[in-house]
Structure formats: C-alpha cells, structure tokens
Symmetry: C2
Subunit: 258 residues, 2 copies
C-alpha cells in the first residue's frame, strides 16, 4: 500500500532537475513552488530577477517541507547565467500562438525528462504571473511544453510547477498502488454455502429454483471483488444470524424447519 | 496545436462533478481551489464548515477566473447534507494506514470518474490543512484515493485539488497536441542535393567517398525530424551560400571549380 515513494526508488535522478522561476512577482508563489519541489523531490530552485523576496510571505507558503529549498535557492540577474551549467532546458507556456512552436504536453515530455536526467542537468522554466515566459526566454529552450486546461483557463505559476513536477514524478516512479488480493475459490465456496444455509433457514430461497437463485447471489457478490477478510465478515454475519434464529425459536429448530 | 480544450469536447460531464472542501482553515485555499475548478471546467464548489470566509483573501487567490465559482458555491453545516444529492463520493487522503483502505491513485480512478459522471453526480472530498479528512468523513466515501508524492511530502489542499482535477481533465479530453508534419522524401531529396552541391563547392566532401559522407549528413539531419518549413530554411541557406561564394570569387566560378 506504499505510495509515498522513496526518492532513491525513482528512475529520474532528481538531483539533476531544477525549477527556474523567471521574474516572479509574488513571493507567495516562490514559497508554493518550493513546497512543490519538496513534495516531488526536486532539490534545486533558481530565481531569475525575482520582484519581491518578502521572507515571511515566502516561508508561509513553503511550509516546513519547502524551507530547505528556500534556504539554498540560487538567485540570478539573468537567465543565461542561470542556464549556463544545464544540458537541456524546457520552457512552459499557456500561450499557443504559431510562433511559440509548442508541440508537446507535459505528460508527453515527462518520460524524456526522466531519461535525460540520468546524465544531464535539466532546467524547467516558468514565467511570471502576468505574461509568462517571453519569446526571448523561450529562445533559450530546447523545447516548449504546455499543460492542457479549459479554454478560459489561467493556471497560477505555482499550480503549473505542481503539475509539471507531479507528471515527472509519476513518469519516474512505480506508483501503482498494490491492490488487495481477492479471496480464493475455496474461501468463496465456504461463504456461499453458509449464505445458502442462512437464506434457506429463513425460507428466502424458492425450493424449486435454488441454483438460479444462488447464481443471482453469486453474481451480485462477485461484482464486489471480495477479499478474504470481507468473506470472513460475511461468513461471521451468517453464522451469527443462524445462531440468533435458533436461539429465538428453540421449539422449532432452524435446521429441522427446512 | 489546440490544447485549450472546449469543455463541450470533453468526455466527462463536468457539470456533474463537485469539489467539496471540508473544514478548510485558510480562505486563500478556498480561493485557489475555486481557480483550479475554473481551470479544469468543474462548476461546483461546496464548503463544509469553513473556518474563515474572508472575502478579500478568497478573491485574491481565486483571481478573475475563479470568481463565478466563489459566487455560487454552497456552504453546508455538515457533510451528510452536502452529499445528499450525489451518487458517488470520492475521498482523498495522504495517510495510508491499513484502516484507510486506500487502493487507488488519482490517475487510476480518473477514467472511472469520467464514466460515472455521464449519469451520476460525483463529489470529490478534500480535508483541511491540518489533518485532512477524518475517518468519519471517509466513512461516507465510496472509495478513497491518494496522490503519489515523495515520502516526506505534504501537499497543500489546493495543490491536491489541482492535481485531481487535472487528472480527470486529462482522462476526459483528447489532449494530445497535434505534431508538426514532417517533410516528404521529395522535399528532403531536393534539400540533400543542394547540401551536397554546397559542400562540394567548398571542397568539404572527399571525392572518393561521397556516398559515405552524405550518409553521415543524412543520418544527422534525419534525427531532427525536419518539417517542410525547416527544409526550406536549410535549402535557402545553401542557395544563399552558393550565391555568396560565386560573388566573392567571380574569376573562378564555383561550378567550374569542381
């Protein structure tokens, strides 16, 4: 049932990933981005020309998990300096004009970012709250991706960071949650037998048509994908019911009634 | 290149979906949840016992797109009243103790929510910032899902709303972005011919090994998945280069040199 994934079990080398926020206006969004990085194990946050670094506002949104990110984040005066040591740069945009040449969604590119992160440092760029990344910023990107939304949408920059990192995380981890094991046929048959016995004891099964009736019951219960534990609960209930019936009518024993 | 999806083109009947926030503490998160609903086309927001409904704080985070959601959101005193008219209830949790019986991630359940929304009203529950949904809240859920994160993670409630609605949206829409069409072989061969001519004109291809040399060039350029437009750019560059070479050495014509 483990879904909290240890970062060492991820395919991506998260230490090779960085979130770069360009000209972010609100310090709350820097804090929220730091928290998103922490949630999905990305250790590097870089700010390019942030407009406001109000510490309390950043910290409030970063919460405890995001504080280490805020402490070690880099702040750069220009994007080119920030990008120098990276091997691959991914821009994000909500605007899809022809000039932007956006051909991939975040879900499509996520597996490639995971692969590239094995041997390369990958930067993911997010523009500011008002106009996003400029064409000049996008000039430095190897590729530009987008997040599908409804027509009228405007994702907040921190929400965009959450979705992009979540997609990379999902592409990187075996996140399928372990499913409960179903009851075996042996366990099921014991349960069906006691159900049959119980239903007969209260005269709820027509004598002439027992198999058809029990088929309905079996199909109904099969749809539930019962686990061994749930089978035991139903069995216990039937057993208790039989006992209660016998106790309440000691003169005519339930067994002998049928 | 259309990724902004018109809601009428979605498989889910979004009007049948609702986000229910239980005992939310910070009005900013109510606002951010409203914005997330707007971004992914979910028109119904219900609050159960909100702790603080500070209008300005809610509106600031909802931004313009989330305001209609805030205007028509329902506020209930208890969860049972809020759920009365729904057919299916999905709880969300980050805690995965055995008692919680969490067997599905949000990505796994998203297609089922889309299917159910065709004929049923589906509520998705989110707990508050401190302790999430209580066991008593989860008692009313048909199923409980989780969002995969790193071990140490704590998703903000509004971030959780963003990810859940994004997954439902992706499961509902044909969000694959249209890819550029590649150049045809006819277009490519014209380009390769002028490249060959250009390289020969500057004596860059060894005469004895022309095919091997051009194979290297073709493999290199093939890796780029060139579009017709890009092919024309390369062709134009070569043609211009040939012209410049001829102009700079009018005595020895480039053609005659080879």
């Amino acid at each position: 049932m483990q879904v909290r994934v240890k970062t060492k079990h991820l395919r991506a080398r998260l230490e090779n990933l960085a979130v770069i926020l360009v000209e972010t206006i609100y310090p709350e969004n820097i804090g929220a981005a730091a928290r998103a990085c922490a949630n999905f194990g990305v250790p590097n946050l870089i700010l390019v020309r942030p407009r406001d670094l109000h510490p309390e506002k950043m910290k409030a949104m970063a919460t405890r998990s995001g504080l280490p990110l805020l402490k070690r984040m880099r702040i750069c005066d220009d994007l080119i300096t920030a990008l120098e040591d990276f091997h691959y740069v991914v821009g994000t945009t909500a605007r899809l004009g022809r000039q932007r040449k956006v051909y991939e969604t975040v879900r499509e590119i996520a597996p490639r970012i995971v692969d590239l992160s094995q041997n390369n440092r990958v930067a993911i760029l997010f523009g500011n709250e008002k106009w996003g990344l400029t064409n000049e910023d996008l000039y430095h990107c190897h590729t530009v991706i987008t997040i599908p939304t409804t027509e009228a949408a405007s994702l907040n920059v921190a929400q965009a960071v959450v979705i992009v990192l979540y997609e990379i995380f999902c592409a990187s981890a075996e996140v399928e949650i372990s499913k409960p094991r179903l009851a075996t046929l042996r366990e099921l048959e014991i349960m069906y037998e006691i159900i049959r016995e119980t239903l007969k004891s209260i005269d709820y099964i027509p004598h002439e048509n027992e198999i058809l009736w029990m088929t309905t019951v079996r199909r109904f219960l099969s749809r539930l994908d019962l686990t061994a534990q749930e089978v035991r609960v139903i069995q216990g209930f039937c057993r208790q019911l039989l006992w209660a019936l016998q106790k309440s009518s000691p003169q005519t024993s339930v067994q002998s009634k049928n």
